[in-house]
Amino acid sequence: MLKMQNIRKSYRTDTIETHALRDFSLEVNEGEFVSVTGPSGSGKTTFLNIAGLLETPTGGQYLLDGQEVGNLSDSERSRLRNEKIGFIFQGFNLIPDLNLFDNIDVPLRYRGFNAKERRRRIEKSLEQVGLSARAKHLPAQLSGGQQQRVAIARALAGEPRFLLADEPTGNLDSLMARQVMELLEFINEWGTTIVMVTHDPDLARRAQRNIQIVDGQVSDLRQTIAQPEAAIA
């Protein structure tokens, strides 16, 4: 599903060059649930941005679904992001002046679905996260946990094969965090590949595999539970 080889990412100012990732290699298989941990500034978010095609690596090779994505144009990267990747952020990143329906509608609009198809998908994804009755509410009218569920619904509406979550429970209390984590596990059981960055070791342990990033490199690849055979295939 995702294969990175010797990925490098550096940021340069007039005086300083910072290496966020160096010789970063990783492979995530179809259907896996992988957690990514590491200290602050280790390169977790940079990895997630590159994986999500939001940033381009300075060097190395990145294959997404077998396709080399390093040299794609912005519009091709945007199309891939829209079709194959779903994002869940720590801060939810819902658009505050759009109601839940319209928030979930955003990626579907860029996908070019007609109104009927968009409505079907929005209603289905809201139902999946248990917020069908709140479709016309604004994000500010919901709790943090509900907002994160809307963000998950938005990510799911496009039926992506690859879900990237950046500290999805970071802003939630333990109860809400558990609910969101259960939802992610549920989504993974449906076959969606998930890569989740987290600081929480308990959550990391719930993934099938944990990757630790230190100083921009993978330092540890630990299998946390036995992978189902279907996921390895």
């Binding site: 939001l54 519009s75 945007s78 994002f87 658009i95 002046d97 496009g158």
Partner: protein, 443 residues
């Protein structure tokens, strides 16, 4: 997606009402000021004879003082704008033009047998019969007078629609008699409302004044000793020896007759130029036209330029107004930049959800366009206010000029949208180039 972007734009405008109102006001004020000036310039530079521009010509002959060229305050082509009576009557004998008009402005006291109609002084045009055909003047009733009336005194009159209404109501007055300076004139025709603006056929007497109220034949000069109520310029008042009084005026070198011809083909024009050349040579032999041989046949569009109907001040004012619009656009750029960058996190989310840079750019440019559209509508209101102000502050002749037609309404909207798109280009480009990951983490 355009509909989606428009709905997002309207939502965004509602979300920041004060900032949006400021941007709309900036565009509206710029457009209002520009369109007020541009509308006046556009209306004053209109050519009502555009459809006949290739066949109509104003005729000028250089019969002026051999010692100094004709000077009209530095304007024009140094040839008198009008002809002498003797030259006009000589040119009228040519059979080359399809139509030809010798004319000038005059005035008559109008009385009728109807005691309900009070006597009044009417602006008159003393002209040859071709006037109506050459300038496409439409008739409501009747028509023009016989050709013989251009040379021999015939008491015929054509009324304007308003004059007919004033004297006879809505009645067809053809065949009725009115008194002009105490003489009975028979009405032979009534024209429709006809007020070309500018009045290309007579720019000397107020380019934007109303057309005349009555029209009488050119052959009446001697009978009524008609002088011009318009410009009358001369350099040698003496006529032929022993000739005095009004006849001396007719034979003088005073220029007061406006002259137009209709030449339907290049060959006809060539023939007419040759005719004029021969006429001037002949006159030179008789001691007139002592200056180098010079004449001009000028099309209506050039005639408007030559007469500087749209003067230099108006052009400068138009540039000033556009410069002011530019200032407003620069202000709008700053406001748009502030508004768009405030929404950068949302753009970041949209990028993460699959919007390309092009989509973000288009979305924000359309928002600029919507601001322009609203600014344009508000600008039209300001333009109408500006034009009303001009009408109040200027002469009556500007009533028809200081008006917005549909072309200028659409031009105002187009200018506003163009200005706002121009203002939105940089802010939309900036927002589309921002790195989404920065905002996704920090939102």
């Amino acid at each position: 997606m355009i509909g989606y972007y428009i709905s997002l734009a309207m939502r965004s405008l509602r979300g920041t009402p004060i900032l949006s109102a400021l941007m709309i006001a900036a565009i509206a004020v710029g457009v209002g000021a520009s369109m007020t000036v541009l509308t006046v310039n556009y209306m004053t530079s209109k050519n009502p004879l555009e459809h006949k521009d290739s066949v109509l010509y104003a005729v000028q002959l250089d019969s002026w003082d051999p010692n100094e060229s004709y000077n009209r305050g530095g304007r024009g082509n140094q040839i008198p704008w009008q002809l002498t009576y003797q030259d006009a009557t000589a040119l009228l004998r040519s059979e080359i033009p399809a139509r030809q008009v010798a004319m000038h402005r005059f005035g008559f006291t109008v009385t009728t047998d109807d005691s309900q109609v009070r006597p009044f002084v009417a602006n008159a045009r003393v002209t040859t019969r071709d006037f109506f055909g050459l300038f496409d003047v439409p008739f409501k009733h009747g028509g023009t007078w016989e050709k013989s009336a251009d040379e021999t005194p015939t008491l015929s009159v054509v009324l304007s629609s308003a004059t007919n209404a004033k004297i006879f109501g809505e009645k067809n007055s053809v065949g009725e008699v009115i008194q002009l300076n105490g003489e009975p004139f028979t009405v032979v025709g009534v024209i429709e409302d006809w007020n070309p603006s500018p009045k290309v056929h007579d720019l000397n007497n107020g380019a934007f004044n109303d057309s005349e109220e009555i029209y009488i034949p050119f052959g009446l000069h001697r009978k009524f000793e008609i002088h011009s109520w318009g410009n009358n310029n001369g350099w040698n008042s003496g006529g032929n020896e022993g000739v005095t009084g009004y006849e001396a005026h007719l034979q003088s070198e005073s220029v007061w007759i406006q002259y137009w011809v209709e030449l339907d083909s290049a060959a006809q024009k060539r023939d007419y130029e040759e005719f004029i050349t021969n006429y001037i040579r002949q006159q030179k032999e008789q001691g007139r036209f002592q200056r180098p041989l010079k004449f001009a046949l000028t099309q209506p569009s050039e005639w408007l330029v030559l007469n500087e109907v749209l003067d230099q001040d108006s052009r400068v004012l138009a540039w000033c107004a556009l410069a002011f619009l530019l200032v407003c656009v620069v202000n709008a750029v700053a406001l748009l930049l502030a508004k768009f960058l405030r929404k950068a996190p949302e753009a970041g989310v949209r990028r993460a959800l699959g919007a390309g840079r092009g989509s973000i750019f288009t979305q924000h440019l359309i928002e600029s366009g919507c601001i322009g559209l609203l600014g344009g509508l508000a600008g039209i209101v300001l333009t109408l206010v500006g034009l009303a102000g001009i009408r109040v502050l200027t002469d009556d002749g500007f009533d028809r000029v200081a008006q917005m037609d549909w072309a200028m309404v659409f031009a105002a909207i187009a200018l506003a949208v163009f200005a706002s798109l121009l203002a939105g280009l940089y802010p939309a480009w900036r927002i589309s180039r921002t790195n989404p990951s920065v905002y996704l983490k920090t939102q």
